[in-house]
């Protein structure tokens, strides 16, 4: 017994020595990544929060500690409220339409025997890999009210007078339109991947049971696509809350974006403008943390609402 126990202790000691060595190696491998994470991510985040508690100008001068004043100023500032509102309108307008359209496209592209399927898939994906800057400039010309292609087409069907980027009512929808168009291909590809994981047997069984296409979609396809829908919804909402490039490039007049009359001033541009154009770095940092909290809360709510267990049974 005692020799067995001794052997077991020896094994345990050996095991724990080996375990310790492995653990040490694990930490050794983790250290470089952890170092970069701390230096390039964690420290800047903490420092940005520190800056947000000060009247910190981009121009060197004293930076007095002002506590949460930047936060309270932001939450009572009409321009900040307007930019948050614009960002929400953009997100609520662009994300559902984009996801619905790309799901529809994915279902069509998923049909066996669809002629030129590869060509269509490639065509829809091209905007995804095209630079936002190039896309924005092309759409500025397409949306030009007098000579632009969009209004020329609308005139053919009797719709006139939309001033797009020059109108406070239409400028934000114009940017949404471009974002939807650009993001369609990416969402479509992920939906296609999701569709192709759904077992054919389930669809065939449903058909044998007398389900029509709509019933199959509603009761089989849609629930089984839930992981893809959750992923795309969460990432699309986060991306939309951080929209910047099209809103800036499509609305800049003489160096200032977000017009007309702040109708396209979105949150990230507002942060950039405050920090780097108005030199109010402390205020800009506070705005960035407000956006961070908004995104965090919305993401948690989304995950709670949309994630549900499912099994192929």
């Amino acid at each position: 017994m005692s020799s067995q126990a001794t052997g077991s202790e020896v094994r345990k000691q050996r095991w724990s020595r080996q375990r310790r060595r492995e653990t040490a190696w694990a930490y050794a491998f983790l250290t470089p990544a952890f170092f970069f994470l701390v230096v390039l991510l964690l420290f800047p985040i903490i420092f940005a929060f520190w800056i947000s508690l000060h009247d910190w100008s981009l121009i060197p001068r004293p930076t007095p500690f002002i506590g949460l004043e930047n936060y309270s100023t932001a939450l009572s500032d009409a321009l900040t409220i307007k930019s948050i509102k614009n960002t929400f309108i953009y997100t609520i307008g662009a994300v559902p339409i984009s996801l619905a359209l790309s799901l529809l496209l994915a279902i069509v592209m998923n049909q066996d025997g669809l002629p030129l399927r590869t060509l269509f898939r490639t065509t829809y994906f091209i905007p995804v890999i095209t630079s936002w800057v190039a896309v924005s400039f092309v759409w500025i010309w397409m949306l030009e009210p007098r000579y632009g292609l969009v209004n020329a087409f609308l005139r053919l069907i009797g719709i006139t007078g939309i001033r797009w980027l020059a109108s406070p009512q239409w400028a934000l929808p114009a940017i949404m339109l471009v974002s939807i168009w650009k993001g369609l291909g990416y969402n479509m590809v992920l939906f296609l991947a999701g569709l192709q994981t759904i077992p054919r047997e389930l669809m065939e069984a449903a058909r044998i049971d007398g389900a029509n296409r709509w019933q199959s979609f509603l009761n089989i396809t849609f629930p089984l696509l839930n992981p893809t829908i959750v992923f795309l919804t969460v990432t699309a909402v986060i991306g939309s809350l951080q929209v910047f490039t099209p809103a800036v490039i499509m609305t800049t007049v003489q160096g200032e974006a977000g017009g007309p009359i702040n109708s396209t001033r979105v949150m990230v541009y507002h942060i950039y403008s405050m920090a780097f154009r108005s030199n109010r770095l402390g205020y800009g940092a506070a705005l960035a943390f407000i956006l961070f909290v908004i995104i965090l809360v919305i993401t948690i709510i989304q995950l709670r609402l949309t994630q549900r267990e499912f099994e192929y049974a």
Binding site: W164, L165, P260
Partner: protein, 450 residues
């Protein structure tokens, strides 16, 4: 391959260094007086001594023409001053401010020793104690005042000292499309009588049919330039050169003068009737021959040469408010400044002056399209080869500087003020009052440190 130092050379160098150290120990400090940014005394190496190597970090925002000019100065300056190396970096516009701020925050070694900032921000940098005043051994205050047009240096002056020398000097003038003028039966060379005459001509050049615009009379989308010129024009020409910020309250005086509100209203009407924000959005309508006129900087001549080589245009002074008044234009510029962390102020200012003095300005005019801020160059025949050149060069003589305190926010506030009226349907009175409130807040934000 590494060079080896021989013993004789080493002893000579050591002797010189020792002598220089002894002299330096007896000399007053060269650091700025605390909090003033004023350079008190300059130590120069004893005659015959080898100068210690100096590397100056020079940053400016990128423009191809600027790079060309600075590179040519750098090559010559380094040739003439073998101990000096200019570490020149041309930084893309989008990154310039972020990089400048983080560089300055990181301090000596990371901060540029010489850099460029717009004139509206100089005061804030000086108040923050970041800049060192112009070295009197390089160029004296009286020399600056004698050589440079006052408006090109005055915004760099604080408490009797100059903190920067100008570059990117520009005025604002009206560019006319000759063909469109002639088509409308107007003479492109005839000067404007006053604002009303300008307005009439703008309307005659506007073509709208069936609710659609085919041609605009005047491109007004440089809103900040228009309103700055109009507001300053009234105060400068009709209120004896009054500045638009009252030093006692640190707020604009616009509300005290109904005429300023009137010119704002005049501009909004002009922009609504002779322009159309929805016409060719995002495109340069003057360059494309679809705008009869636009306000622009003389540097635009270079742009037009490249983008619209066939466009025939005439440059005229900005119209006066009433007939017979002296012409007026608002002048803008950037400044080259020296950070008080520079390793050698003397050399840093020598370099700045080298790039902004009279001979250098000839290069700036030729290569970058700048206007000369040196008085002695105004009558140079090479800069006055045609009528447009004459209008441009004359405008330097009667300009006064933009009086913005801060910078980018003014572009937004002026643009928003116009948009609220022309697009949003707000009354000019309401919009003007909001403009004043917002601008006063901007001024306050930028003068906290003063």
């Amino acid at each position: 391959m590494a060079k080896r130092m021989d013993r004789r050379y080493f002893l000579r160098l050591a002797a010189v260094a020792g002598g220089a150290s002894a002299l330096a120990a007896c000399a007053p400090a060269t650091q700025p007086a605390a909090g003033t940014g004023v350079q008190e005394t300059v130590v120069t190496a004893p005659e015959g001594a080898e100068k210690a190597p100096v590397t100056l970090m020079h940053w400016q925002h990128h423009a191809a023409s600027y790079v060309q000019a600075v590179e040519s100065f750098k090559a010559r300056f380094e040739d003439e001053n073998e101990h000096v190396t200019i570490d020149f970096q041309s930084i893309p516009w989008a990154e310039y401010w972020g990089k400048l701020a983080s560089g300055i925050a990181a301090g000596k070694g990371s901060a540029p020793d010489v850099f460029m900032i717009p004139m509206g921000l100089i005061d804030e940098y000086v108040s923050g104690g970041s800049l060192i005043s112009v070295d009197e051994n390089i160029v004296t205050t009286s020399q600056i005042e004698q050589d440079y047009w006052d408006w090109t240096v005055t915004r760099g002056k604080k408490d009797g000292l100059y903190y920067g020398l100008p570059l990117n000097v520009q005025t604002l003038l009206i560019f006319r499309n000759n063909a469109l003028f002639e088509e409308a039966g107007l003479d492109p060379a005839e000067p404007f009588l006053d604002h009303a005459d300008f307005y009439d001509k703008a309307l005659q050049l506007t073509k709208k049919s069936g609710g659609e615009t085919d041609q605009i009379g005047v491109n007004t989308n440089y809103y900040s330039a228009w309103l700055t010129t109009l507001f300053q024009q009234f105060l400068q020409r009709e209120q004896n050169g009054m500045e638009w910020i009252d030093p006692a309250t640190n707020q604009v005086v616009w509300q005290d003068y109904p005429e300023i509100m009137q010119v704002f209203e005049w501009f909004c009407q002009l922009s609504a009737e002779a322009d159309d924000s929805a016409f060719m959005t995002g495109q340069n309508r003057f360059t494309l021959g679809r705008a009869g006129m636009e306000i622009g900087h003389p540097v635009n001549r270079g742009t037009l040469r490249v983008t619209a080589p066939d466009l025939q245009y005439t440059i005229t002074p900005f119209p006066s408010r009433s007939a017979g008044q002296d012409p007026y234009t608002a002048g803008s510029h950037w400044m080259w400044v020296v950070g008080n962390w520079a390793p050698d102020y003397n050399v840093a200012w020598e370099w700045v002056y080298y790039c902004t003095n009279k001979p250098a300005q000839v290069t700036w005019v030729d290569v970058a399209g700048d206007l000369p801020s040196h008085k002695g160059l105004n009558d140079e025949p090479r800069f006055r080869q045609n009528d447009n050149d004459n209008v441009v060069m004359d405008s330097i003589k009667y300009a006064t500087p933009w009086e913005w305190v801060g910078w980018a926010e003014w572009v937004k506030e002026f643009g928003d003020a116009r948009d609220r009226v022309v697009i949003g349907g707000e009354t000019t009175q309401q919009s003007f009052e909001t403009l004043i409130i917002n601008i006063n807040e901007v001024i306050k934000t930028h003068t906290l440190a003063s």
